[in-house]
């Protein structure tokens, strides 16, 4: 794919278990130079996108993402995001970003109390120049696999999400009780993205869907407009 200069950094925590999936989405799936950054690192190095992968960082002790938030690499990720760097958190990565206050809201236990593992239909929202129905289509399908994906935010916060078009995706058949069936959000500035569904489990022909490529391209297109869905 064009734009081989785009560099991806995938963070790794003790207990991350989708780090390799995220790595392969960007390296194998999109052909981009991708590397891991260990949680003890205080610098990210050169990166055009920082991916916080899924898993159970630090055993999910206390709350999902609560401990990872204070890791050295998250200090670097916070600086990176505050300078306008693009960050994508998937599943546990989304939980970490919420705990860190880089995204609004919080994720609690699924209303069913069950770990839900299935491929979901998701309605795409118009959430700014990169993430919208033009770059993604109105519906995509992505797998989920989580026990704590029930998105919560207070009423004022929810109104802000709607007003600022910060909602990325909604479940068409809510699997976890999320408020407003919200599956993913971005920050107000538009450079930090988080979602419970896994684009990193949807890019190979043997995956239940290949829509993860569209999601990855949409987010990259924020800084690299040449990465459109046409270059599939």
């Amino acid at each position: 794919m064009k734009g081989a200069a785009i560099k991806i950094a995938v963070l790794q925590f003790p207990g991350s278990n989708c780090d390799q999936d995220a790595f392969h989405l960007f390296s194998t799936g999109l052909g981009l130079p991708t590397r891991y950054v260990w949680h003890k690192e205080t610098r990210l190095g050169e990166a055009d996108l920082v991916v916080i992968p899924g898993g159970f960082s630090y055993g999910d002790y206390l709350r999902c993402g609560a401990i990872a938030r204070f890791s050295p690499v998250m200090g670097a990720a916070r600086d990176y995001a505050e300078r306008g760097g693009v960050v994508l958190g998937i599943c546990n990565g989304f939980q970490i970003l919420c705990e860190a206050g880089l995204l609004p809201g919080a994720l609690i236990r699924n209303s069913s109390l069950e770990f839900r593992c299935l491929t979901c239909d998701l309605a795409v929202s118009d959430a700014g120049p990169a993430f919208n129905t033009r770059t993604l289509g109105t519906r995509i399908r992505l797998p989920i696999g989580h026990g704590e994906g029930n998105y919560r935010i207070d009423e004022a916060g929810r109104e802000r999400l709607e007003t600022n078009r910060q909602i990325l995706l909604r479940y068409t058949d809510n699997p976890n009780g999320s408020l407003g069936a919200i599956a993913g959000v971005r920050n107000e500035e538009g450079n930090v993205f988080g979602m419970m569904p896994h684009p990193d489990r949807a890019f190979e022909r043997f995956h239940p869907s290949m829509d993860g490529l569209k999601v990855a391209r949409a987010i990259l297109s924020l800084r690299f407009p040449e990465v459109s869905r046409k270059s599939a």
Partner: protein
């Protein structure tokens, strides 16, 4: 000095665990149940004495780490000073 920190889901936040535990209690014969919330207790043992500085530090740590203010409340008890 022993400190017990109690972390509970906020009143206006759905508590799926509490709901499930409440149903189980009712099925075991508990009548008149009006609510059940499940939280956690963190027990700390610290050398030193209770002081306004300690409490300020505890409040900060409770807000930053031990609870998530978006979904949880906290309180603590200090004993043995």
């Amino acid at each position: 000095m022993k400190i017990k920190v109690f972390v509970t889901p906020k009143r206006n936040v759905l508590d799926p665990q509490g709901v499930a535990v409440g149903h189980a209690l009712e099925s075991l014969g508990l009548g008149g149940l009006k609510g059940a919330r499940v939280g956690k207790v963190v027990e700390l043992e610290i050398e030193g004495k209770d002081s306004p500085e300690l409490r300020a530090q505890l409040d900060r740590l409770c807000r930053d780490l031990l609870s998530n203010p978006v979904i949880e409340d906290y309180q603590y008890e200090i004993a043995g000073t």
